[in-house]
């Protein structure tokens, strides 16, 4: 990397809320930016993306051929690629249309597909399905302090270990009872921990925006949902919000 690492921010299909959220750490923003040479921030600039940089930060899902090419170019130029938010990590909200993308297109546009859509629209993909990604900042939207931590991890290294345990442990640390005792669906059973279970702590069930844990036991979670009267089908359906892959096991 250059002496002061050169950083670029790119936004793909998303609400740009994660980039906005980074600006929300106002009092620390200059401290953070002081550690890097910010070459480009799509949210704040109309210039073209520069070609020389060390760290690429990407928000959003890949939904067009052009986006695919641009993330490939970012990967080629960057020593480290960081994705921010659920759209980039799992294809998120844009990814909800993945399953029946062609049929949905047909239903919406019929034979009158507008030029901007016809020209290169592809089935939405997570960034990591297009290029290798070094670091992910999870959730929808991201916690900006998580972003700072991950950026510093990319700049300086860290031997911190990212647990794949799911959310309930963090929820219990918040002294929270369980939604399943109240016949309410919650995806905390299978969602990767790290956010501090803040939605359940505010009285809202987890909707899985941090992504399915690689060690998630979906089969068991379905049993839990069935037994709680919520139903495994409701769990499966909720998992689709953030386009999580659904495990094949059936409830036994």
């Amino acid at each position: 990397m250059a002496d002061t690492p050169r950083v670029v921010f790119a936004g793909l299909a998303s609400c740009f809320g994660c980039q906005i959220n980074i600006t929300n750490i106002e009092e620390h923003l200059m401290d953070v930016l002081g550690q890097v040479d910010l070459k480009y921030w799509q949210l704040t600039s109309s210039d073209p993306m520069p070609t020389d940089f060390d760290v690429a930060v990407i928000e959003g899902a890949v939904t067009t051929e052009a986006a695919k090419e641009s993330v490939q170019a970012l990967r080629e130029g960057a020593d480290a690629v960081i994705t921010i938010g659920a759209c980039a990590a799992t294809s998120g909200i844009p990814g909800m249309s993945t399953e029946d993308h062609a049929a949905d297109m047909d239903a919406v546009y019929g034979d009158k597909v507008p030029y901007v859509v016809a020209d290169g629209a592809i089935t939405p993909m997570a960034v990591k399905d297009v290029i290798s990604v070094d670091f992910e900042v999870p959730c929808c939207p991201i916690d900006p302090y998580d972003f700072v931590e991950v950026l510093q991890h990319a700049l300086y290294g860290s031997n911190i270990y990212r647990r794949s345990s799911t959310l309930c442990g963090e929820c219990k640390n918040n002294e929270r009872g369980c939604f399943y005792g109240r016949n309410t669906l919650c995806l905390g059973l299978v969602t990767r921990s790290g956010c501090g279970a803040r939605c359940p702590n505010l009285g809202r069930p987890c909707n899985g925006c941090a992504g399915l844990s690689p060690d998630a036991n979906v089969a068991q979670a379905r049993r839990v949902a069935d037994r709680a009267g919520v139903g495994a089908a409701a769990l499966d359906s909720a998992l689709r919000i953030f386009n999580q892959p659904i495990a094949d096991e059936e409830v036994s």
Binding site: G157, S158, N159, I160
Partner: protein, 300 residues
């Protein structure tokens, strides 16, 4: 509502001028002490030997390690990692750590230069029973990076050579380029007082040592079982095979020692990451004898 109490969990070094190094270290056992890198020797593509000297003279003088022990090394901001000590306790004032580039922490350590400062706390762990080993024949078997903790014992035996009987060292590597401390061992190969057997899985044109697993040389090994201590360190799969070879030679369960690898995060028998069955690798080990190991669920 009562006021909060501010508790100083030990003094900073500057505030503890009148105290002994040991007392300062134990006041807060989580506190790493600045240590300067004084020498870096590349060993292989992925391994380097670092020499460290503790900066505070009181701490340096109070630091005594034994073969088989480890330290916790800190790079502030990056984290902490347990690394076994490779130098002999007969040399004091510095320690040597043999470090494989295996993750982000060791990557950062490999990027550091002479003069750079890290943090060190320790030493931790139960060592090899080097005092009990005196007067006996010694059979040491190392595989790969397992040479790192064993080298402390090997060098100690070297420095106190007359105290020990016959010494056999079997050191296995994947290929010749991964043989560590090669210069040292090349010299030793011609010595009469060390039976050094270097072996590799895959030889190249230059290799004139043995070829095959570390267990192969046992076939032609003459062992005085009642008078021999064995010690083993290597990758997890190696232990069972090597200790069984030692058993076949007739060495008693409690004369066969092995050093286990686990992630010792605190080093003080608390954090739980290094638990094997009911034992803590960091304070009950990392060195266990075969009898103890057989009594630990999940040790091998």
């Amino acid at each position: 509502m009562p006021d909060l109490q501010t508790v100083h969990v030990a003094d900073l070094a500057d505030d503890a001028t009148a105290r002994s190094g040991n007392a300062i270290m134990m006041a807060n056992p989580y506190r790493p002490w600045p240590a300067r890198i004084t020498s870096i020797t590349p060993l292989t593509e992925t391994e380097k030997l670092f020499e460290f000297r503790l900066v505070d003279e009181r701490i340096r003088n109070a630091f005594h390690h034994e073969p088989g022990q480890f330290v916790e090394v800190s790079i502030f901001g990056v984290g902490e990692a347990p690394i076994s000590i490779s130098s002999s306790p007969s040399k004091s004032g510095f320690i040597e750590l043999c470090v494989r580039r295996a993750g982000e922490f060791t990557q950062r350590l490999h990027e550091m230069q002479c003069g750079d400062i890290v943090g060190i706390r320790g030493p931790y762990g139960r060592p090899f029973p080097y005092e009990d080993m005196k007067g006996h024949d010694i059979l040491l078997v190392a595989g790969g990076l397992g040479i790192a903790p064993l080298r402390s014992l090997i060098n100690y035996i070297h420095d106190e050579r007359s105290e020990f009987g016959n010494v056999t060292i079997i050191y296995g590597s994947k290929n010749p380029s991964e043989v560590m401390f090669r210069d040292q061992f090349e010299m030793w190969r011609h010595r009469k007082d060390f039976n050094l057997i270097l072996t590799v899985d895959t030889p190249d044109d230059t290799w004139d040592g043995e070829v095959g697993l570390v267990t192969a040389p046992f076939a032609s090994l003459d062992v005085d079982a009642d008078n021999t201590f064995g010690a083993v360190c290597g990758p997890p799969v190696m232990y069972r095979f090597v200790v069984e070879e030692m058993r076949k030679k007739g060495i008693s369960y409690d004369h066969i020692y092995m050093s286990f690898e686990r992630h010792m995060k605190c080093g003080m028998g608390k954090c739980g990451h290094c638990q094997i069955g009911h034992q803590y690798c960091c304070i009950d080990g990392p060195v266990f004898n075969y009898w103890e190991a057989k009594n630990i669920q999940g040790s091998m």
